[in-house]
């Protein structure tokens, strides 16, 4: 039996409390994970500065090389994991078995992480707008045009409270080690695999072990991460977002309410974008915050909904080992029932029609012995008012919403990724000015098609470093 210890600044710690991570379908115990307690983090916080000190011994340029090597090891090597080892294929199997994500999607996520790790130089160049990277090591320096700059680390470490169900989020923290900031990670209880494998890959590539701490554990551990780290990244639901919104020490990630808007100038050609819309809804099992949950149009709403329903409605559960599997199950008991009931209730509201029902050949909710599936669901809303017009669920769900173009921006609400397809300069400018949109695509870009050279929900450089004034000589007379 694989046992995975707590990692305290690189040192394994065997806890008296262990939890079992089990296969969602068979109940087979895949590993015993040693559990940290909150006090342990508070104790270890006292050595957080050492993590950055150790990383600063290695030039960022070299760390970028190590990240690339780590990417290769992560993707291809059999790496130590607790009391055993794990090959890439075992990684995919285990991640699939505990998160429910089909194996081919786990493999695709590995490639995504690999891409980010092997393109770190370009990513940091883009996110820093081309600054000489030693500015982040020394805290100050002169950029190419001769201007003195200072970037001061806000914290020697980044704390992270990671989710259980979305293996896709890990790309967000990969630039942290190359930026010479240590990691304090609370992995999701069902997705322990990526943090441990990634940490091992980094260390085998030459990153000092004392730069990384991993604390599997309960709520008290999450609370301790939030309390002890001056910068933290947390993933959660709307409640978590509301709790930390506006807190400069916390970067909070949750539901995205990502959308596709078809401008009046292109909406009559909606069939040209059907593939784009369908993929944005269903890829990665519709689980991500960057999956589309709303398509907003001024006309043809019913036709678009029907066309998407014809395409997505028949998709049903397949074994997680099947390369064609498109749906991930809900592994938390009762969760799928609750979501399905919410949608049924939403469909009772005026102007809401579930379009997929007639193409599905069965109910939305498919219950299995140890998990449940929700099959793709497309609803048509004749106005933005119904609840479902702006809802997001962790499966392929989208509302096609009828809304005049001039009212779209005032109705869509907070939107993580907005793909707006339009050639109208005035509408484009309004979209550019809309502060409730985070990532904006103007043009035919799938909502999931992220460019890693772009910031995601805030630039991590701005989050981890403070751009402040620094002078070594008096300024010019004025």
């Amino acid at each position: 039996m694989l046992e995975i210890p707590v990692i305290r600044w690189g040192k394994p710690y065997e806890s008296l409390e262990k939890t079992e991570v089990v296969h969602f379908e068979t109940g087979e115990v895949l590993a015993k994970v040693h559990q940290a307690n909150g006090g342990m983090l508070k104790m270890d916080r006292r050595h957080a500065a050492r993590a950055r000190d150790a990383l600063r011994q290695i030039p960022i340029d070299q760390l970028i090389g190590m990240a690339a090597k780590a990417g290769d090891l992560y993707l291809n090597a059999t790496l130590p994991l607790g009391t055993g080892t794990q090959s890439p294929a075992e990684f995919c199997k285990m991640q699939s078995a505990t998160t429910g994500l089909p194996e081919h999607m786990c493999a695709a996520n590995m490639k995504k992480n690999y891409f980010v790790l092997t393109h770190m130089r370009e990513i940091l160049d883009a996110l820093t707008r081309g600054l000489p990277l030693d500015i982040f090591t020394r805290g100050y320096g002169t950029e190419d045009r001769g201007v003195m700059l200072s970037y001061q680390a806000n914290s020697p470490v980044l704390g992270m409270v990671l989710p259980s169900n979305s293996p896709g989020v890990h790309t967000l923290w990969m630039p942290v080690i190359p930026l010479q900031i240590g990691l304090v990670i609370k992995p999701g209880s069902q997705e322990i695999w990526t943090p441990f494998r990634m940490a091992e890959a980094f260390c085998q590539a030459g990153v000092p072990r004392e730069a990384i701490a991993i604390y599997p554990g309960g709520h008290d551990v999450g609370a301790a991460v939030m309390e002890t780290c001056d910068r933290t990244m947390i993933f959660g639901g709307l409640q978590t977002i509301e709790k930390y919104q506006g807190n400069p020490k916390v970067q909070v990630h949750g539901p995205g309410f990502s959308k596709i808007l078809l401008g009046d100038d292109v909406v009559d050609n909606w069939r040209d974008y059907l593939d784009l819309m369908a993929d944005s809804i269903v890829l990665n099992s519709g689980r991500g915050c960057i999956n589309c949950s709303g398509i907003w149009v001024s006309r043809h709403g019913a036709e678009i909904a029907d066309a998407l329903a014809q395409r997505l409605g028949p998709i049903g559960p397949l074994p997680s080992t099947d390369p064609k599997a498109a749906l991930a199950p809900f592994t938390v008991p009762g969760q799928a029932d609750a979501v399905s009931a919410q949608i049924d209730e939403g469909c009772q509201q005026e102007g809401v029609t579930e379009v997929t029902a007639k193409y599905r050949n069965g109910p939305r909710l498919e219950k299995r012995e140890r998990c449940d599936y929700l099959r793709p669901t497309i609803v048509h809303c004749t106005s933005p008012e119904p609840t479902l017009a702006n809802s997001e669920y962790m499966f392929p769900f989208t509302a096609v919403v009828d809304c005049p173009q001039e009212k779209m921006l005032s109705s869509i609400g907070q939107t993580l990724v907005c793909t707006a397809i339009t050639n109208n300069p005035k509408f484009s400018q309004q979209l550019l000015d809309a502060t409730h949109i985070d990532r904006l695509n103007i043009g035919p870009v799938k909502t999931l098609a992220l460019n890693w050279l772009q910031p995601h929900e805030g630039n991590i450089i701005d989050f981890l470093f403070r751009n402040r004034s620094f002078q070594t000589s008096p300024p010019p007379a004025h």
Binding site: S15, L16, E17, Q35, N37, G38, G39, M40, K42, M43, R46, D220, A223, M226, E227, K243
Partner: protein, 367 residues
Amino acid sequence: MTAISPELAAKVSAARERLDAHVRDIIEWHFNPATGCPFWLEKAKTLGFDPRKAVQNYDDLKKFPSFEDEWLRGGPIQRWIPQGLKGKPVYVFETGGTTGIPKSRMQIDDWKTDYEMFSETLPDDKFPKGSNWLMLGPSGPRRLRLAVEHLAQFRGGISFCVDLDPRWVVKLIKRGNMKEMEAYRDHVIDQAITILSAGHDIKCMFTTPKLLEALAMKLMDQGSSIRETGITGIFSGGTEFTPQWYRFAMDELLDGVFMTPTYGNTLMGLACGKPFDPADNYKITYFAPQPRAVIEVVEFKDYNQLVGYGQTGRVKLTTLTKETFIPGFMERDEGERELPFDKYPWDGISGTRPFHEFAKTTTVGVY
């Protein structure tokens, strides 16, 4: 049943006989109109049996309906005062109460008796007689505040205490106001450090796991330690006192200072932990102060059915004192049933933690 030695079996049997006899005395007291309290005398009319005749041993207590939590909320508190104790000074201690009406228990001397019994279990070299105490726990209407003070006095010392309102802490946590919670915790720890630095020769302390962590780390930040403050013995308790936390505290917080776990509440009194034995690998086993209180670990689906030894069940508590009779109160905790032990020849419980069905909604504060 797991085998136990004949000597221990004899002790278990004798303890059971004492418990049965105690049950008869307590039932006679509480259901005799001359000595019983209004609540039970009134309730007896609806039971359909005469407890004084029908209850002859501990198992007969199952004839009572489930004791309802709600009976302890609200007044008049006088309905719980036995006629036989009328005129004595009465204390009221509360549990819960962050929102709504708290549960309350009236007490006269029980709290003193419980802690005097507990005092006998404390090693004198770690909790020296005559030394002073710090009560670093909740103040206000909690029994613990007065009880620890009495314990100190009973052992010839004086107890210092802090202001700590746990209801406010729970409210802050429920609101997600963690910064305020942390500030309040720091305020409490500052009070403690001030007292500890004031030359009062404090050697003994009660505190909670979270406050102990906070105190130890604050002292470390100041280049000091719990040992350096002069403390030699600590007792602490609660469902957060897990084996892992116990080991963490021993290895990393206490710098060799002795600590003993306890499990208790306003209804039961104080359960004692089996003395630390490295062979137990930090497993903490508690034993109720029988016959004054009895802990049973019962099936989740049938509260009259004990689970097997080593099996998990919900904590059922029965209080049997002349001041209070509470048969079969279902606690908000669960744990594993443990074998009797030489010093405590009756069932114990280990692994106490919040009952899994409530755990999601239970807010654990600093206390």
